[in-house]
């Protein structure tokens, strides 16, 4: 049944996506909510919380303030904290109750910016979408505010990585591996949005020759950079050996031609027959599917339980919006590569290969997380 699950997990929400994307940029992020969002995010969705400081806060919304529309308290509290902490920017977003109350976050952000002199933006989260929606809007806002100057392209080929968060990549060296692979492929890194780079690095994004979108939450920012500076983007994650080489070639072609490409979706899953099912975020799962097909010769199909544009999916890929759909798709598969929290709905006669995804299972299987970047794949089918 739609919106119902007996036993599987649920993906991180849009508010967590905002926080995760903006975590390292020296900005203040305020989620307008009672308390739960911050605890959930900092416990389950943010592996950096203990060791790496940031300015992620909750507004501690109360029933009275929600009913009376006391936005002034939110604005004053943010302004007071900003005065103490001097963030690079302020992002404010909401959970379900502000949605019901019709809270106008862009207007609140404008008021905060006027009072503090600090760039501020309001985001349209509601706690009812996945992390991808929040991360996407947050990164697009950062790019919109801070990537305004058309810098000369770097002398050597260069790239930005767009859409990296621990929710998709964990903190297991995968992002560092992507950076290493980029360098090995002949590209300097301008910035990684948004792990391991500063806001100043991101300000220089227009100097890159091409953008590598590693999660569907990076598409909107990449599109903005394309429109603003003409920078082409390609979507894919360098997984496995042959697909990584294909992706490097696509990057070079894009940098030279200015055309965008989606190697993660350059597959065809529509042929009859049982396939390996890979549920997850579209760019990563599509890349993994492509890598398995070219490296191991096993046909794959991506199952997409999250928001994704149609162009990120290949023919024959399937959108799955609930537990029943996942279970039915698994039953038709030759095997399943998925987060362990999908295992209970995988039929016992279908082989299940564990691939933890932090956005689904949080920290439960963090110790098992795999860095598949530019490595031989660990499975044989």
């Amino acid at each position: 049944m739609k919106q119902t699950a007996r036993i599987i997990s649920i993906h991180a929400a849009d508010t967590s996506g905002v926080c995760s994307m903006l975590y390292e940029l020296g900005g203040m992020v305020v989620v307008h909510d009672a308390s739960g969002c911050n605890s959930t995010y900092s416990t389950h969705d943010e592996p950096r919380w203990y060791r790496q400081d940031s300015m992620i806060y909750i507004s501690a919304l109360t029933e009275t303030d929600a009913i009376l529309g006391n936005d002034e308290k939110l604005i004053a509290d943010i302004a007071a904290a900003a005065k103490d902490l001097s963030p690079n920017f302020i992002a404010v977003c909401g959970a379900p109750v502000p949605l019901l109350a019709g809270t106008d976050f862009p207007a609140i952000a404008a008021e905060i910016e006027a009072r503090t002199g600090i760039p501020a933006f309001g985001l349209h989260t509601s706690g009812m979408h996945s992390y991808l929606a929040g991360a996407s809007e947050a990164l697009e806002a950062v790019v919109s505010h801070f990537c305004t100057e058309a810098l000369p392209r770097t002398d050597a080929p260069s790239a930005n990585i767009i859409g990296a968060t621990p929710l998709d990549f964990s903190v297991n060296g995968a992002v560092e591996s992507v950076i290493g692979w980029l360098k090995k492929s002949g590209f300097e890194l301008v910035s990684c949005m948004a792990m391991g780079s500063t806001l100043d690095d991101i300000r220089c994004a227009s100097a890159a020759h091409v953008n590598l979108v590693v999660s569907s939450c990076g598409i909107a920012a990449a599109e903005l950079l394309r429109k603003r500076f003409g920078t082409p983007w390609i979507a894919g994650v360098p997984v496995g050996e042959k697909f990584s080489a294909r992706l490097a070639s696509a990057l070079k072609t894009a940098a030279a031609s200015g055309g965008c490409a989606l190697p993660c979706a350059e597959r065809d899953a529509s042929a009859p027959g049982r396939k390996l099912a890979i549920p997850g975020e579209a760019v990563f799962s599509g890349s993994l599917a492509a890598a398995i097909e070219v490296d191991l010769g096993t046909p794959c199909r991506v199952l997409c339980p999250l928001e994704a544009e149609d162009r990120l999916l290949a023919p024959g890929d399937l959108r799955i919006f609930d537990e029943d759909a996942a279970s039915a798709a698994f039953a038709e598969a030759s095997g399943v590569i998925a987060d362990p929290m999908y295992a209970p709905v995988c039929p016992p006669d279908v082989p299940f290969f564990r691939l933890p995804h932090e956005a689904f299972s949080g920290r439960c299987y963090r110790k098992e997380s795999l860095n598949l970047i530019d490595h031989p794949l660990p499975w044989r089918f």
């Binding site: 649920i10 020296g26 969705d45 109750v97 949605l99 019901l100 706690g127 929290m341």
Partner: protein
Amino acid sequence: MLKRLNGEDDMTGAEVAIRDADFPVPFVSGLEYNAPARGPWNIVHTGMLIPESHHVFACAQGCLRGVVLTAAEMLAMDRMSWISVDKSDLFDGSLERNIVDGTAEIIRKLPKKPRAVLLFISCVHLFAGCDFEVMLDELRAMFPDIDFIDCYMNPTMRKSGLTPDQLMRRQLYAPFAPCPADPKTVNLIGNDRPTDASSELVQLIGNAGRELRDITQCRTYDEYMRMAKSQLEITYLPTAKASGDALEKRLGRKHLYLPLSYDFDEIERNLGILADALGVPAPDWTGAKRKAVRALEQAKAVIGDTPVEIDYTATPRPVGLAALLAEHGFRVTRVYTDAMIEEERPAFERLRALAPELLLTATVHAKMRFAGKGVHERGDVLAVGQKAAYFSGTKHFVNIVSGGGMYGFDGVVRLAERMADAAMHEQDTETVIQYKGLGCRSCL
């Protein structure tokens, strides 16, 4: 790593010497930080105490995430299901229908029918005016052999009445219906861990020939339901008081609230009230008091002048504990608490006179983001509680939440022993305090 821009020592607004502090709320509310100390229980941990029950949470994705992963970490996903709320549900009148249909479908799919279903709704349902009773009536008609318990995850309403934690502890006993009382049994209500068998409270009940029943020790639903027959309800945590009051009203049983205390006079008074209610003479507690004092002296000999810091997650009476320790020569330097309960007022006044320089420190204030992990280096510290351990950066701490099951004079002895042990042994603070729900199983 970000650095505080206004200087490391500027904790204005986030800490205050007790001599200058307002009671009960010493700090102005504002944006809130969440320290990575995960030991305190949440509504999922508490609800799971009902044996053979199943949880269904109906709420938005962001809210579901926290409760679902709480269950996952405690290896209880087979007892957790969910129904998400979509934006359109808020406006097309389908909120109630989705919950009824979704819950019914979940129950039909379960491999074994649960004895009880805890159905949780959230803030948005209450704001949208959902008729919870109608939903429950329909489900009860569909599944007459299942007890449906209305539960709430409504933190937005935390200052409008009972907090979600208090509500959960109250609803934990909702299936209990009026029935003939068993005069030989006594309930301990609203706790999330067993009380030490050596405590005077447990001893007194046992010595009076009564059987003590406690949900933390129930293994089956039938055992749990037998608690409905107990003649006397006892609570000692402030968050459990509403549970006892509700049972007193609904079942007609006497409820004794005997608050967890570190004040010897109050402990003795509480035990006297209990003895009266049990119809037995109050024992002479002189020996127990002497034992407690001796334990404190022994702990002091080990801990010496090491600063002691206490937080509110360790005990509902951190100020009372600080006062007891200060009265026995300990160098208590800091209490972490964002607000104090009214019960703490006498201890607050005592402590203010005894240690006027002692700092009260907020835990959620925005500046506390940069005060963790001992950033404000102040040498070695003995902490009582996970947040005190985190903020002080110490590896020497007593790892307890909600009093840790220690009660009475015996509780003082045990706590003193735990403090001495903590002073002598290091723990991996970063790992230990991040396990969720202290005492629960964990997949981490």
